[in-house]
């Protein structure tokens, strides 16, 4: 073929809506979240896990059957500032993705922190949850965390 073929461009969208079964532990977590409660569970060695897990991530042993409420406040243990949020990000303006260790928990939960500016972010900062007006039993019921020292 001596002539150069044209260049064609078209959108190509691949989308699947998976429905994922939660199992006994995360079912409790998301049901409580819908009631604006943060639940954790314990390993047999007494470590408090939030989000709760079916097994101790260190030993693989089943976790204890009871749940404890943690938070609502917590501490940022690490974070990354998102300068330009994308369509699927939890907030439309700049925010931090952060690991938040809720009061009473030994592990941290990944969520967004709406701090307004990167300058307000620091490891060790205190945050509190901001709940959505309507909850549906999903992680977005907790819209984000925000700094405890309100502006």
């Amino acid at each position: 073929m001596s002539s150069t073929p044209p260049v064609y461009t078209a959108p190509h969208v691949v989308a699947f809506d998976y429905r994922r079964s939660l199992g006994p532990v995360l079912s409790r977590f998301f049901t409580a979240l819908r009631d604006r409660q943060l639940l954790a569970n314990r390993t047999v060695r007494g470590r408090v896990l939030c989000p709760p897990m079916e097994h101790d991530p260190e030993t693989g042993a089943a976790t204890a059957p009871d749940f404890v409420e943690v938070g609502p406040g917590g501490v940022v243990t690490t974070w990354a500032w998102v300068v330009t949020p994308r369509a699927k990000h939890p907030l439309a303006h700049p925010f931090a993705f952060a690991l938040v260790r809720l009061d009473g928990a030994d592990t941290a939960l990944l969520h967004a922190v709406d701090a307004g500016s990167e300058a307000r972010m620091r490891t060790g900062m205190r945050v509190r949850p901001r709940w959505r007006a309507e909850t549906r039993g999903e992680i977005g019921d907790l819209e984000c965390f925000e700094p405890e020292d309100a502006r």
Partner: protein
């Protein structure tokens, strides 16, 4: 449970990937041809197999394919699948059939929709032809071919299909 909705037992976790697909080289040449109502393939200079749609390389020999050859818009079913499960994105009447079709002049099958026949009547070796949309609707897309339908010609014996597997 304080909430009348009952416990939360599952979550929808959507996956969505938005690509801007750009066709160049052999793909673009194929799309240009189909926008004119023609099908083309490319022949491997080593094994002499013809690939349609062409990718610009022979998957068997791993070398570039440069010779463009015309391919017919009729061919033979090598395998097929009867679909009985409804889907939100498919408007066809169930059950329907998708088939791997090797076009006359090509050596590799590709998947296409089969219509204008009962799914139960579809056979390996069945001869089929493309049903094109009206010329005014053609564009650089495989959707110019609405689907394939049986031609009524005698079946190709299964032993002659072996070369394509």
């Amino acid at each position: 449970m304080s909430d009348a909705r009952g416990p939360v037992k599952s979550l929808v976790t959507p996956t969505r990937l938005e690509y801007a697909y750009t066709a160049t080289g052999a793909h673009a040449e194929f799309l240009k041809a189909i926008s004119e109502g023609r099908l083309i393939g490319q022949r491997c200079p080593e094994c002499r197999k013809v690939y349609c749609p062409p990718s610009g390389a022979c998957p068997r020999c791993g070398i570039a394919t440069e010779e463009t050859v015309p391919v017919a818009d009729r061919g033979t079913i090598t395998t097929f699948c009867i679909v009985r499960v409804p889907s939100d994105v498919i408007e066809l009447k169930l059950p329907y059939c998708t088939a791997n079709i090797v076009l006359d002049g090509s050596d590799i099958p590709f998947i296409a929709l089969l219509q204008e026949c009962e799914a139960a009547d579809v056979r390996i070796g069945m001869r089929v032809e493309a049903v094109w949309r009206p010329r005014a609707e053609w564009g650089p897309t495989f959707e110019n071919i609405r689907w394939f339908r049986p031609t009524g010609e005698p079946d190709v014996p299964v032993e002659k299909l072996g070369a394509w597997f």
